[in-house]
């Protein structure tokens, strides 16, 4: 029974959290309050873990909640329930697009959607930069401009930027290298 309500709850989360990532949080808090499968502290921990593992927080939280309530099958089942609405809805939209991609209005909509898409991605980049490259709280404390920059991070960022242009290897190589550099230089 628990497994079924687990599936229903995470299916609901997948269906109603638009935009993903942190949009799932309100639903996770609600599930926590109603079913006590995990505590608010667990959610906070999971945010930290999500920042340090691949995958979106929604997937991570559903796996974790599923595991605590139903063991390994529970973890897998809860994540799949979370993914279900995405697959169904996008399949329907993709069919719609295949039929209407040549339509004048659909084509024009993309004229507006693409800059919005790039703007969202830029904003996501800025949000990561505000954590990785800049330190607003240290600056607000000292009002000393150099404190605003995370110098180690900025140097690494410049090196990666140049490296990506010069060396044609897979981005994953840079991700792995940054992890090692992060450990060695205590980022």
């Amino acid at each position: 029974m628990t497994l079924i309500s687990l599936c229903i709850q995470f299916f609901k989360t997948g269906l109603f959290s638009i935009g993903g990532g942190l949009a799932t949080l309100p639903f996770l808090y609600e599930i926590s309050d109603r079913f006590h499968w995990f505590s608010h502290a667990d959610i906070a921990d999971m945010i930290a873990i999500s920042e340090s593992t691949p995958g979106a927080i929604g997937i991570n939280m559903s796996t974790y909640a599923g595991y605590t309530t139903g063991g390994i099958p529970g973890g897998i089942l809860a994540s799949l329930s979370l993914a279900c609405p995405s697959v169904i809805i996008i399949l329907i939209i993709a069919r719609f697009l295949e039929k209407f991609r040549e339509n004048k209005y659909v084509d024009r909509a993309f004229y507006g959607l693409r800059p919005a898409s790039i703007a969202m991605i830029s904003a996501a980049g800025i949000n990561v930069a505000m954590v990785a490259l800049f330190d607003l709280s240290a600056f607000q404390e000292s009002h000393f401009l150099p404190d605003f920059f995370v110098w180690k991070g900025l140097i690494l960022a410049v090196l990666i930027f140049i490296g990506q242009k010069k060396i044609k290897i897979h981005p994953v190589a840079f991700i792995a290298a940054s992890a090692v550099i992060g450990i060695i230089f205590k980022f």
Binding site: I18, G19, D107, S117, A124, S178, I183, F187
Partner: protein, 225 residues
């Protein structure tokens, strides 16, 4: 099936149009599944699954951080999608229910191999995160508190940030084609970054939908030709 719907030209309520469309779309999907049962090449499905499993394994930093990886693996190396299509998928994935990463996976998988492809891509993307979280939940609950892990991921965040910025620079020309799109970009960017500090947090889905509507009224079509 068509006989049960109003004749063309007859006024139809929006609800009826939506229902008709949904039924049609469901019909198409079932047709596709039947078709694919014969035509699907298991090797190609497996390739799709593995490609997304690889991306899922290294997709640190949420849905948008997936873009540079998709670009490198799928657009540049394999040629499965174009960069414009990736942008479109992100825009739609942002304003439809579900996690962006999963929406984009489904889109790409569907484009490549229909329903079976969509399932393979999404399951592939889920595989590594599920395994990693299960391992963490079973063995090391304090994973995020380990000092080395924190340092490693501070380093990874720097890299992810650079990768996202580079992806934006590469895709810029495909999206910002004239002054109107530049202004649209700046407005959305400003609202997305500063909106929550200055007045109120505008839901990103709303911003995306608004710019789509803006495009319908003021846009120029035919950029892909």
């Amino acid at each position: 099936m068509a006989a049960s719907f109003p004749a063309p030209g007859a006024p139809a309520a929006p609800g009826a149009i939506f229902m008709r469309f949904t039924i049609k779309a469901a019909g198409h999907i079932i047709e596709d599944i039947n078709y694919e049962r014969k035509a699907v090449n298991m090797n190609e499905i497996l390739e799709l699954y593995l490609a997304f499993a690889r991306i899922g394994a290294v997709n640190f930093g949420g849905g948008y951080a997936m873009l540079p990886l998709l670009e490198e693996d799928l657009a540049k190396n394999k040629g499965w999608v174009t960069r414009e299509e990736l942008l479109d998928y992100f825009a739609i994935g942002q304003c439809t229910p579900g996690l962006i990463a999963l929406n984009v996976s489904t889109f790409v998988g569907n484009k490549r191999k229909g329903v079976a492809g969509a399932l393979a891509a999404t399951l592939g993307f889920l595989t590594c995160p599920i395994i990693i979280i299960l391992v963490i939940a079973i063995f090391m609950k304090n994973f995020a508190d380990i000092e080395a892990v924190q340092h490693a991921f501070a380093g990874i965040r720097v890299c992810v940030c650079v990768l996202i910025i580079q992806a934006v620079l590469r895709l810029w020309k495909k999206a910002v084609v004239d002054r109107t799109t530049l202004i649209l970009y700046l407005v959305i960017f400003f609202l997305a970054v500063f909106g929550k500090h200055l007045f109120f947090a505008v839901p990103t889905a709303l911003l995306v939908i608004a710019s789509g509507v803006f495009g319908v009224f003021f846009g120029k079509g035919g950029q892909d030709k």
